[in-house]
């Protein structure tokens, strides 16, 4: 697992209180990890903090899986 993927997973585990082995790159925040729309807003804020990236609302709306988040961050972090 890449360093980014690892750090993304840790944030998801901490924020959603889910088992680490459920947080695969394919996992959907809402369907697999029990998140609601507000949890995703909070996760996006946490990713922005952790990686120093800005994730605009229209991009955030397209992030539905853990892998989507990892990919976006890898492509946009400085």
């Amino acid at each position: 697992m890449s360093d980014t993927a690892d750090r993304v997973s840790k944030i998801v585990v901490e924020h959603l209180g889910v088992e680490a082995d459920k947080v695969t790159q394919e996992a959907s925040f809402i369907d697999d990890l029990g998140a609601d729309s507000l949890d995703i807003v909070e996760l996006v804020m946490a990713f922005e903090e952790e990686f120093g990236v800005e994730i605009p609302d229209d991009a955030a709306e397209k992030i539905t899986t853990v892998g989507d988040a990892t990919k976006y961050i890898e492509e946009h972090k400085g």
Partner: protein, 419 residues
């Protein structure tokens, strides 16, 4: 008329994370007060409080037992205390598995006096220091007073009335009284009722200190600071926690063979119409509330065996006592009257519910809890049993609980043993 009984109890207090631990410590005359550990209080005028203790403490509270990790991260402490106390009460009443039909007849009335002050304080700093885009999406619903009732209803599937009282330090008593009425009015068969508070944060302590309501001269002797009726009292000690009871329609409770602790028979409410923080100097509002509660109960003053006083360890203690003497007679007709705030501090919006539970346990165990630190009773207390220092074994068949709040809002509850 539909009768209302208490069939379950739940407590989170500075003396325990459950009912039996708290009650054992109350009867052992322990104090929950200490110097504030939650934050650096060295610049505060008042540096002590009765904090709910961490899980690894001898009588600590473990939020992981009943509150989801995700919820814990999103909400203020008062909501966590409230959810746990509600869960305890449901379990105690044997109501973990309810039919859909019963869930639709079960509601919540769990309030708070102030609500999520620590979260408002910290998120306000986030706003100022880092801008609106960093404010948590959970900020609002993690602080709102009715979100104990909301969270409990979601967690347990309760679809009856969903309500929350906000009457400062009378909240817990009003919550129980109002919920009992909802059952009597046939809005529900079961109600989870109570109150919670968690405002031990820099802004909360400073605010009450500036209002001259908190003690300030016992920073080096925290356990002696809460001393209702004592000549040397100088303000309340802030507490935190929650108390929730299961109220149930009597025939319903009987039919399912529930354990019945007591019946809620009287409820009195009044306003002081006097001052925002100070009680009416003659305790007129307090007197009206007590008289109404007795009248509704159809009881004489002499029927009451124990009064759990509002008794905050402020000058108001003797005003309340004088009002009680006018209602009950100069010797309170033989009733014992104590303030358990001497042990757990003032739980503000949680106080009336927690203290009602102590009243119920007094009936169950035929023992009244003590008033700690009552070394030199103030003038005007002569001839009254204020239960100094240690609990007193005595017959307890009927009890009255007083709660009074800022804004001049008063509530009295009368409960009695069910034969």
């Amino acid at each position: 008329m539909r009768r209302v009984v208490v069939t379950g109890l739940g407590l989170v207090t500075p003396l325990g994370g459950d009912v039996e631990t708290t009650w054992a410590n109350i009867l052992a005359s322990k104090s929950g007060a200490s110097r504030i550990t939650r934050f650096d209080a060295s610049d505060q005028k008042c540096q002590i409080a009765c904090e709910v203790k961490p899980a690894d403490h001898e009588y600590g509270f473990d939020p992981d037992k009943r509150v989801d990790h995700k919820v814990q991260r999103q909400v203020d402490p008062f909501i966590i205390y409230g959810i746990d106390a509600a869960g305890q009460a449901l379990e105690d009443a044997g109501l973990e598995d309810m039919s859909q039909e019963l869930l639709e007849r079960t509601g919540c009335s769990i309030g708070s006096g102030i609500g999520g002050l620590p979260g408002i304080e910290s998120e306000s700093l986030v706003l100022h220091e880092r801008g609106p885009g960093r404010v948590s999406p959970h900020f609002v619903h993690g602080r709102l007073i009715n979100l104990i009732s909301g969270q409990v209803s979601i967690k347990y599937g309760l679809m009856g009335p969903n309500h929350a009282v906000v009457t400062a330090c009378s909240t817990g008593a009003h919550s129980i009284g109002d919920a009992a009425r909802m059952i009597r009015e046939d809005d529900a068969d079961i109600m989870l009722a109570g109150g919670a508070e968690g405002t031990i944060c820099p802004l909360g302590v400073a605010g009450f200190a500036q209002a001259r309501a908190l003690n300030m001269s016992y920073n080096d002797r925290p356990e002696q600071a809460s001393r209702p009726y004592d000549k040397d009292r100088d303000g309340f000690v802030m507490g935190e926690g929650a108390g929730v009871v299961v109220l149930e329609e009597y025939e319903h409770a009987k039919a399912r063979g529930a354990k019945i602790y007591a019946e809620v028979v009287g409820y009195g409410l009044s306003g002081d119409a006097y001052h925002v923080t100070a009680p009416h100097p003659e305790g007129k509002g307090a007197e009206l509330a007590m008289r109404m509660a007795l009248r509704k109960a159809g009881m004489d003053p002499s029927d009451i065996d124990y009064i759990n006083a509002h008794g905050t360890s402020t000058m108001a203690d003797t005003i309340e006592l004088a009002a009680a003497m006018r209602v009950f007679g100069s010797d309170l007709s033989g009733a014992s009257m104590s303030s358990t705030k001497s042990a757990i501090g003032h739980l503000l919006g949680g106080a009336g519910a927690v203290e009602s539970i102590f009243c119920i346990l007094a009936i169950r165990d035929q023992i009244v809890p003590p008033t700690l630190n009552l070394d030199n009773p103030d003038e005007g207390t002569e001839g009254v049993d204020l239960v100094p220092h240690i609990p007193r074994k005595r017959p307890v068949n009927a009890v009255l609980n007083n709660s009074f709040g800022f804004g001049g809002t008063n509530a009295s509850l009368v409960m009695k043993k069910v034969d």
